[in-house]
């Protein structure tokens, strides 16, 4: 089942590759079917998924490279399954957003589907080599997606993204190798989870640092975050969505899955620094966002800030914090995805994202403004919307251990509110800027991509039972070990 989810997009990609590039509709249809199969399959899995079990489910295991004891092994638990759902869902949403792509359609959808396979694989791989393959598999399509369909500085952004991430991940790779030998030639993640905690602290710390470097770039944790604003700004809208919604989650997922579960010693050692980084991410990210005039860049920095909440939750070493981190990952994916889509909407019309170029848009585009308000408020953590739940639980988890850090981080919440409010004021409120007299409200396609996200935002904010129930047991068990 997991295999189906992972490979369906790749199969779709290959089909797309075989289609002639003039048949745009066919290409789009195939892409939707491929991504749709993944989505449906992951939803169908919901029925079989046992939320009361902390164990790996849907485990698949086939020998892949027996000589090296590398296996094709997949599995999902309460930590990864929500992220799988998020990925399949956001990919379909981003595909809807991609319908506006007119340049080199075939290649676009090809790379997009390859990217989806990579992302899904990262979350369900239970073998380090498999994991690493998927991890890197996300890089190449991303490079092309940013590089070909991006903004004016796309080439630079693409290569910077690639090199930055690769630099981190090669260290992670070395860490994996070190664990392989330490663990008696195994890349099996579950097995290493048993072995890892028994290793001597020094080794754990070293390997932790190696893994952390790779993950931190992806998260992105300060000070390795500078690739993010550029990549986000330059990427085409759907790709920004994917980047924010899924790619960043890979880092936090890795932190929870590997760093914590395999190397608790190293994790414990790193906690004081981790929480510091979290605080920097939160406060500094929010302040940087405050200084932005480009909406997309602002949202990008807000991602830095939001991932800081995840880190804070993780640093709390408590179930509430971990739950908060995972939940925050999901909700950040939804909310920031929607934000990028919405920024894309205005950019498509006005060809500028400069905050001060607008004014009073709410008059002309009430639906757009309403959705934007909803999403912004969700992002700044208004209770009743999804953003609050994760954020609050992160704080809740971190607070018993890191009171002062949490208190300082609250400044970040205020700054977040400040920049979102200012953006809304300058763009949507105030006197109408006559320059945009001809601007139109959202089209059906745009609504189709944003409204589901908005619905989820409200749903998860008001009644987060369902997503939480998926992860509760796993996280309690994770910490209970």
């Amino acid at each position: 089942m997991l295999s189906l989810i992972i490979w369906a997009p790749l199969v779709g990609a290959l089909i797309v590759l075989c289609l002639p590039k003039e048949k745009v509709t066919a290409i789009q249809a195939v892409s939707f079917i491929a991504a749709g199969v993944s989505l449906v399959a992951s939803l169908v899995m919901l029925r079989a998924f046992d939320a009361d079990s902390a164990a790996m489910q849907f485990v698949e295991r086939l020998p892949w490279i027996p000589s090296l004891n590398v296996n094709y092994s997949l599995g999902a638990d309460g930590l990864s399954y929500p992220l799988v759902l998020l990925t399949t869902f956001m990919c379909v949403i981003a595909l809807v957003g991609s319908l506006g792509i007119e340049k080199r359609v075939k290649e676009y959808f090809f790379w997009f589907l390859v990217l989806e396979t990579g992302m899904l694989g990262v979350f369900v791989a239970l073998d380090f080599i498999l994991f690493y393959v998927f991890w890197e598999l996300t890089l190449v399509p991303m490079y092309f997606l940013i590089g070909v369909w991006g903004g004016p500085k796309r080439e630079f952004a693409a290569i910077k993204f690639f090199l930055y991430t690769l630099t981190g991940s090669v260290f992670m790779f070395l860490g994996l190798l070190a664990m392989y030998f330490k663990g008696g030639n195994t890349f099996d993640i579950l097995q290493l989870m048993q072995l890892g905690p028994t290793w001597e602290p020094r080794f754990q710390i070293l390997v932790f640092l190696a893994l952390y470097l790779g993950l931190a770039v992806k998260i992105p944790a300060a000070p390795f975050h500078t690739w993010l604003p550029l990549a986000h700004v330059e990427a085409p809208t759907p790709i920004s969505v994917i980047l924010a919604a899924v790619l960043l989650k890979m880092g936090v997922y890795g932190l929870l899955r590997f760093c914590y579960q395999i190397l608790p010693g190293g994790f414990q050692w790193f906690l004081p620094y981790l929480v510091l980084i979290a605080v920097i991410n939160i406060v500094y990210g929010a302040l940087c966002a405050m200084a932005q005039t480009d909406m997309k860049k602002m949202v990008a920095y807000s991602s830095v800030n939001h991932m800081g909440y995840c880190l804070l939750g993780i640093a709390g070493m408590s179930a509430a914090g971990f739950t908060g981190a995972v939940f925050q990952m999901v909700t950040h994916g939804i909310i920031t995805g929607a934000l990028f889509l919405l920024v894309g909407v205005v950019y498509d019309r006005a060809h500028t994202r400069d905050i001060s170029a607008f004014g009073g848009l709410a008059l002309k585009t009430p639906v757009y403004a309403g959705l934007m308000f909803l999403t912004c408020f969700a992002s700044l953590g208004l209770p009743g919307l999804a953003g609050f739940v994760g954020e609050f639980m992160c704080f809740l988890g971190a607070f018993p251990m890191w009171k002062w850090h949490a208190a300082v981080s609250v400044l970040g919440i205020i700054a977040t509110a400040a920049f979102f409010l200012r953006m809304m004021q300058k763009v949507f409120l105030g006197t109408f800027n006559e320059k945009w007299a001809g601007i139109e409200d959202m089209t059906v396609r745009e609504l189709v991509s944003v409204v589901p996200l908005a619905v989820l935002t409200v749903w998860f904010g008001v009644y987060p039972t369902w997503p939480l129930s998926l992860m509760n047991k796993t996280i309690a068990a994770m910490l209970g070990k």
């Binding site: 739950t323 609050f388 109408f432 309690a476």
Partner: protein, 688 residues
């Protein structure tokens, strides 16, 4: 009816949803009546609940499962259930009735007031939503829900202040309001975190027990109380966060009446009262709260003295009255605060709605352009006069009961504070009647506006009249039952301790003045003394009866005519003081400085990000290599076609450095390096 109490917030919530999704934007839309109807149902429910409590019902709590999440407590990891539900005591019932009542009337009033607005439906939607949130806050048994409602009220406040967003003023104001309250909310946020990490629950009843049993260390309780106080200061516009409220008046007037006068701003007071057990465990913070309230009341009243904006005066008076409530809470007057909250809601709503009628009539906020309107707007005049009497504390009007009760607590708490509060009360009487005199009496100052003024339609005046009733009688009606309805909570461990060690260091309010020292603990400890509390010594009563009319008279003396030479003379004589007040104690400027500083910090952060953090990792090694290359006399090589655009220093400069070894393509240079390798091998190996 208690078991259906949960419907009280849900009905308006449903109404707002129905209006939002179901109704079209249309001046003749029946949508507002949905809101009004919902409100009336809620009102009925809450009245029945109140009646139950008046009949002696016990505190009622009912919870449902909301969501559960994994959590860690005391080293154990388990799945924690988060319930959602209602917790109703007398105070909650009382406040919910107030909210429903005021909201119903405001909505009825608004039907006429907002009739010509193009976002007619949206307005009612917001108001219903606000009411739902407020009722949720009042009734919720779960502090997290309380907080959520608290924030949602902030949202509706934001939306309503900026309701006319085409103009820049409301937009600035709404942002300011949201940000300032958010600043305060962060305190409440931290308090919540602290409470949970301490007690492992958000259930107010459980938290109450926890504190009541004395499980909370005093220092922790103090920190939590401080956090709550900060939150309340933001929401209830206490010093120093009151700056947002005057600006918030740029929204529709009925909205202001409901949100920024009668109910939402009282939420801070209400939450402090709801979590009073925390404050009881932290006497220091209580004293602080009292002083904060006192300072707020005084500063706001002073500002009201010089304002000519009719809504501005009301806004300052709101702040001032909220200061009274906060002061009462700090001084131990739990019941008094709730009492004043109730009466204030009625008369302040009335005042605002009345002001709305005035503005409706003359299309200006400036009282200097009004005058003599009582002939044109008789209903408005008489109702507002009643409200002014109430707020000024004239005997028999509701305000006098609650205000006297507060003053009584303050008298017991601290004498200096009492005199400040007394002065503030007199100032209140002065500026409120100043408003009446400037607006309604004397001759018209702006003939044009006067001429066009006319009484508001019935939909607007009926609510005024309806509000007059509680404005007058609620004080008298509640005075007898309020102590039974909302008795001050008691901490069991302190009462227990009081029997053994009367001067328990734990409970002693250190910063309180000396004379309060002996009395305050006693006041806290003995619930049966409540009936003796809340009454001023008789001589002070007489003093009030003399001074209040005197200040009204003084006001009349100053502002009776179309011109007010004495006031102007005073103004020129006390110019610095007037300027200080007109500039709102320079608090706005302080706020602007804060904003500017934070903008600067943000810009600095971003500069650092783009020019330091980014470059350290991208170009840092490049710098090192450049130095290295310079030392190796390869500097010229650095200027050889730097083809690599952006990415970096590291790769770029190292590459240039390395390439310069062979940049000429001379084969004998190649040989040279081979020979060097040879000679190094020969020498190093053989001469070891």
């Amino acid at each position: 009816m208690l078991e259906h109490a949960y419907l009280i917030p849900l009905i308006p919530f449903a109404a707002s949803l129905i209006m939002f999704f179901g109704a079209k934007e249309d001046p003749h839309s029946p949508a507002p009546w949905i809101g009004v109807g919902a409100m009336l149902i809620s009102l009925g429910l809450s009245v029945s609940v109140l009646l139950a409590f008046l009949g002696g019902a016990a505190t009622y709590e009912r919870n449902w499962h909301w969501f559960s999440f994994a959590t860690t407590m005391g080293g154990k990891h388990f799945v924690h259930d988060m319930p959602i539900g209602v917790l109703i005591d007398g105070g909650a019932a009382l406040v919910s009735v107030v909210v429903c009542f005021v909201s119903s009337l405001v909505q009825i009033y608004s039907i006429a007031y907002m009739h010509d607005d193009k976002r007619y439906k949206r307005y009612f939607c917001f108001v219903s939503f606000f009411t739902a949130a407020m009722l949720g806050l009042v009734l919720s048994s779960n502090l997290l829900v309380t907080f959520a409602c608290w924030e949602l009220m902030g949202l509706t406040s934001y939306l309503l202040i900026g309701f006319w967003f085409e103009r820049e003023g409301p937009c600035e104001a709404q942002k300011k309001a949201f940000m300032t309250t958010k600043l305060g909310d962060s305190g409440l946020y931290l308090a919540l975190l602290f409470l949970y990490s301490l007690a492992g629950s958000f259930q107010i009843s459980q938290l109450g027990q926890f504190f009541s049993m004395g499980y909370a260390p005093a220092a922790v309780a103090a920190v939590i109380a401080l956090g709550i106080l900060v939150g309340a200061a933001g929401k209830s516009a206490q010093f120093p966060l009151f700056i947002w409220l005057p600006d918030a008046m740029q929204g529709p007037t009925p909205g202001s009446a409901l949100i920024h006068a009668a109910t939402m701003v009282a939420a801070g007071i209400y939450v402090v009262a709801r979590l009073y057990f925390v404050f009881l465990a932290a006497p220091d913070v209580m004293a602080l709260a009292a002083w904060v309230g006192c300072i707020t009341a005084f500063m706001a009243a002073a500002m009201a003295l010089v304002s000519y904006d009719i809504k501005g005066v009301l806004a300052f008076s709101t702040i001032s009255q909220l200061g009274f409530m906060m002061c009462a809470l700090g001084a131990g007057g739990y019941t008094a605060a709730l009492f004043h909250l109730t009466t204030h809601a009625f008369f302040k709503a009335l005042l605002f709605l009345g002001a709305g009628c005035v503005i409706h009539a003359v299309h200006t906020n400036d009282m200097r352009e009004m005058g003599g309107l009582w002939t044109k707007l008789p209903v408005t005049f008489w109702t507002m006069l009643a409200a002014c009497c109430a707020i000024a504390g004239l005997p028999l009007f509701s305000g006098s009961y609650s205000k006297d009760m507060i003053l009584a607590y303050v008298w017991e708490f601290s004498k200096p504070m009492f005199w400040v509060m007394l002065g503030t009360a007199l100032m209140t009487a002065f500026y409120m009647f100043r408003l009446i005199f400037l607006t309604f009496t004397g001759k018209d100052r702006d003939h044009e506006k006067f001429h066009h003024a006319h009484e508001a339609p019935g939909l607007m005046t009926v609510p005024l009249v309806l509000l007059v009733i509680p404005t007058i009688v609620s004080g008298l009606a509640l005075n007898g039952v309020i102590f039974k309805l909302a008795p001050k909570p008691v901490l069991h461990f302190q009462t227990a301790a009081a029997h053994e060690v009367p001067a328990d260091a734990h409970a002693a309010p250190a910063p309180a003045p000396a004379e309060a020292h002996a009395e305050a603990p006693a006041a806290q400890h003995h619930g049966d003394e409540h009936h003796q509390e809340g009454h001023l010594p008789p001589f002070l009563h007489y003093l009030l009866w003399v001074l209040v009319p005197a200040s009204i008279a003084f006001s009349f003396f100053l502002y009776r005519g179309p011109k007010y030479p004495v006031a102007d003379a005073l103004k020129s004589a006390l110019a610095p003081a007037f300027t200080l007040l007109e500039r709102r104690w320079y608090m706005d400027d302080l706020f602007n400085v804060l904003v500017r500083v934070s903008d600067r910090v943000a810009a600095l952060c971003f500069w650092v990000d783009a020019n330091v953090v980014d470059r350290v990792f991208v170009d840092g090694w490049g710098l090192v290599m450049r130095v290295f290359a310079h030392l190796s006399d390869l500097f010229d090589a650095l200027f050889v076609d730097r083809t690599v655009d952006g990415f970096g220093g590291l790769t770029n400069d190292v590459g240039v450095g390395l390439r310069s070894f062979v940049k000429d393509g001379q084969v004998q240079e190649y040989l040279m390096y081979a020979a060097i390798a040879f000679s190094l091998a020969a020498t190093l190996i053989l001469t070891r």
